[in-house]
């Protein structure tokens, strides 16, 4: 850069700073204090939004604060609106197949709440007066089949299962047949927990989906990634890798009855644009709620526990 350009660029900066400052004075907006910003930053990071996302929101809030004017709007209210806005374009309803059974595959890393979510979803469908079938495609973890079968008994929902260590794709295949013959509207496929870093297990999941797609074109219609609200930044990797492997259609965030705020979904939403469909708020069948961006944002800044 030549000296002249450098000077010009420098002036440009000063100029826009000046314009901003004048605007601030004209609108009568207060300047943000360092302490408030630090407080906001702590709240956001403490809610697992992550450093990058937090920096972005703090910058947006600073800007909004100093341009909105008036009686000095509450910093946290602006941040809340900011978060709600970024999550607002969500469509929580389950997709439906044009005709026949809608297949919903429920995936995620170990222990996030996949099996419980399958049960809750089946319960939700039943409440609507429709019928569901559950597929026990976790043939690996000890007693995973019994776990789903117990849910099936409790809810009165048929469960299609194979033997332990059987090919989960074969179970999924049979489950579609069973759901068909029962005339069920929904099939929820409970898959084994797997870390997104294990390529053999991700391939196994791809196969399950491929086999279902062959058996029933369009299936699975929904692929829901179950995220544990307690998880930190790793959730972003989880979402990214599962999305790469099996093209997710939505997220379910569980264990929001705890103290974790699950702020990492803000970053996930920004990167992958996946709708958050449901949240889990307990261990019982009706502890499942459609996602609400406004409520989520409010909870993010509220004290719990």
């Amino acid at each position: 850069m030549g000296l002249f350009q450098k000077l010009k660029a420098g002036l440009q900066k000063t100029h826009s700073k000046l314009v901003h400052e004048i605007k601030r004075i004209v609108t009568g907006s207060p300047r943000l204090t360092g302490t408030t910003l630090a407080e906001l930053e702590a709240a956001l990071i403490g809610a697992d939004l992550g450093f990058a996302m937090t920096t972005q929101i703090v910058a947006a809030v600073k800007h909004a604060y100093e341009t909105q004017g008036g009686a000095g709007p509450d910093v946290f209210a602006i941040a809340e609106a900011e978060v709600a806005r970024s999550l607002a374009a969500n469509e929580p309803a389950l997709k439906r197949a044009a005709n026949g059974v809608t297949v919903v595959s429920v995936v995620g890393v170990n222990g996030t709440g996949k099996t419980t979510t399958c049960a809750k979803l089946a319960h939700l469908i039943q409440d609507r007066g429709e019928t569901a079938v559950l597929a026990a495609c976790d043939t690996f973890r000890a007693a995973a089949i019994e776990q789903l079968q117990l849910w099936g008994e409790r809810l009165g929902v048929p469960v299609v299962a194979g033997a332990y260590h059987a090919d989960p794709a074969a179970v999924a295949h049979d489950a579609i047949t069973a759901a068909h013959s029962r005339g069920a509207q929904f099939l929820f496929v409970d898959t084994a927990g797997r870390l997104h870093t294990k390529s053999n297990l991700m391939k196994e999941l791809q196969k399950v989906h491929r086999v279902m797609g062959k058996k029933l074109p369009g299936a699975p219609h929904e692929v829901l990634l179950v995220l544990d609200a307690t998880t930190g930044m790793n959730a972003i990797n989880q979402a990214r890798e599962f999305h790469k492997a099996v093209t997710l259609t939505g997220l379910v965030v569980t264990k929001l009855d705890g103290t974790s705020k699950a702020g990492m979904v803000v970053a996930i939403q920004k990167e992958l644009g996946l709708p958050i469909k449901f949240i889990g708020v307990g261990e019982q069948p009706d502890d499942l709620q459609p996602f609400d961006a406004g409520q989520f944002a409010t909870a993010l800044f509220s004290e719990k526990g």
Binding site: D48, G111, G113, T230, G232, A235
Partner: protein
């Protein structure tokens, strides 16, 4: 494991290493980056802040600013601080006595049941007689899950289906163990939120009856900022004796380990590295710290260098290099010093980004070359080493034959050595000049 944090910190350290001097302000810059990396690794923000403050205080206190290789010194400081935070020693289980109980507690899905099985397997191998106790009365098929694990291990499992009172389960399990000569009881409890007071009180009552020697908090390595609250609450209610960190086979950065240690101060005793029962290892704070920083291997390199390289000797060589008095004898000493640090492959592998380098470079070739050079120089007389110019054709033939190589190879070595000497002389002059201007550091032996 910890890949992302590693690469971030590696950047930080790369910058640090590149700096010849560190001023107070650029220490602060680097530490800000460290804080950011820690936050991205899910270290609780308060813990991260304190950590950075501590390192800063130490860095400045120790006057790294004046050291020759401040970057490396800071690396060591950060590493040491992290090790200290994670606990300096690997703590085992306290199982002295005829019959003892262990209790596994934690949030939902953190890995309590699996870890119970893993511990049972370990204790069985150590010659104990474990009894797994199914005390999760809530999760569907939780008892079946533990029973299956018991079958896999060929170990008894105390199961009382339909029982919903964990205190009764505790009492009966103790009696069962007594009657069946089982000397370690492992209680697998249901997952619960730390704020669920009635359920936490259930654990308190179970503890009263069972009087466990160890209460282990099972913590998922991917846990975020709340790890601090989870650990604090469980510890306050139950006085846990330690933790098990699970799912370390993934790419979670494991900041929860740091959070846990710094708020509870109890040791992390084991780590889960897979879904199978054998995927279980004692927790090594040192290794973990190194893993988190991703430059662990750099730390051991620095340490190794410090161990093997006599600082005086290094200084002497540097001095000689600068003055252009570097002889083949010195070269031999330097070669040996490098080789005493281990195979080249290991050395390079230890450096950040060295892994990538290894993929491309055929180091075994360089290694061989090193050895051949050493052989050649060894075959020379001390006089020849100090005065290479006296090596005529006859001498060269003798040396080459003596070390089993062609004369052309010796010629090659001598030629390259000559070039090296020339370069050093030039560098020496250049540096003297810079030195007068108050700039650049002397060429450290291990600067890259």
């Amino acid at each position: 494991m910890f890949d992302s944090l590693s690469s971030k910190l590696q950047n930080v350290f790369r910058n640090l290493r590149g700096l010849g001097r560190i001023s107070e302000s650029n220490v602060a810059d680097s530490l800000r980056d460290v804080r950011m990396a820690l936050l991205d690794a899910d270290v609780n923000f308060k813990v991260a802040r304190d950590f950075v403050e501590r390192v800063k205080a130490k860095a400045i206190g120790q006057q790294v600013i004046q050291s020759i290789q401040p970057g490396q010194q800071i690396i060591k400081l950060i590493h040491d601080e992290l090790v200290e935070l994670l606990g300096a020693e690997n703590a085992g289980l306290d199982l002295a006595g005829a019959s003892v109980s262990l209790m596994m507690v934690g949030l939902h899905g953190s890995g309590k049941t699996t870890s119970s099985g893993k511990l049972a397997r370990l204790l069985q191998k150590q010659g104990r007689a474990p009894l797994l106790v199914a005390a999760d009365v809530y999760r569907p098929a939780a008892m079946d899950q533990l029973e299956t694990l018991g079958k896999q291990l060929d170990l008894p499992v105390f199961v009382k289906r339909g029982e919903t009172d964990v205190v009764r389960i505790g009492r009966e399990a103790l009696a069962f163990a007594e009657a069946n000569q089982r000397n370690v009881l492992i209680f697998d409890t249901a997952g619960r939120l730390q704020i669920d007071e009635p359920l936490v009180q259930e654990l308190v009552r179970l503890r009263e009856v069972v009087q466990p020697r160890e209460i282990l908090l099972v913590l998922d390595a991917a846990t975020g900022q709340e790890a601090v609250n989870v650990a604090t609450h469980f510890d306050q209610a139950l006085h846990i004796t330690g933790a098990i960190l699970t799912k370390l086979d993934g790419d979670a950065r494991g900041g929860a380990a740091l959070s846990f240690k710094s708020v509870v101060g109890k040791p992390i005793k084991f780590m889960g590295v897979g879904e199978k029962l054998e995927d279980f290892e004692p927790f090594h704070p040192e290794r973990m710290a190194q893993r988190i920083l991703g430059m662990g291997d750099v730390v051991s390199l620095v340490e190794k260098a410090a161990e093997t390289v006599d600082a005086e000797e290094a200084k002497r060589l540097e001095e000689k290099m600068r003055k252009g008095q570097f002889t083949l004898e010195d070269f031999l000493a330097q070669l040996r010093q490098m080789r005493s640090m281990g195979p080249l492959e290991n050395l390079v592998g230890m450096l950040p980004g060295g892994g990538d380098m290894l993929k491309n470079a055929d180091l075994s070739k360089s290694e061989k070359e090193f050895r051949r050079m050493e052989g050649l120089i060894c075959a020379m007389t001390p006089l020849e080493r100090r005065n290479p110019q006296i090596m005529n054709a006859r001498r060269r033939l003798r040396i080459a034959t003596g070390s089993g190589v062609k004369v052309s190879e010796l010629n090659n070595l001598l030629q390259r050595f000559g070039q090296m000497q020339q370069m050093m002389k030039k560098m020496g002059k250049f540096q003297k000049m810079l030195g007068r201007m108050g700039g650049a550091p002397p060429p450290g032996l291990f600067r890259r």
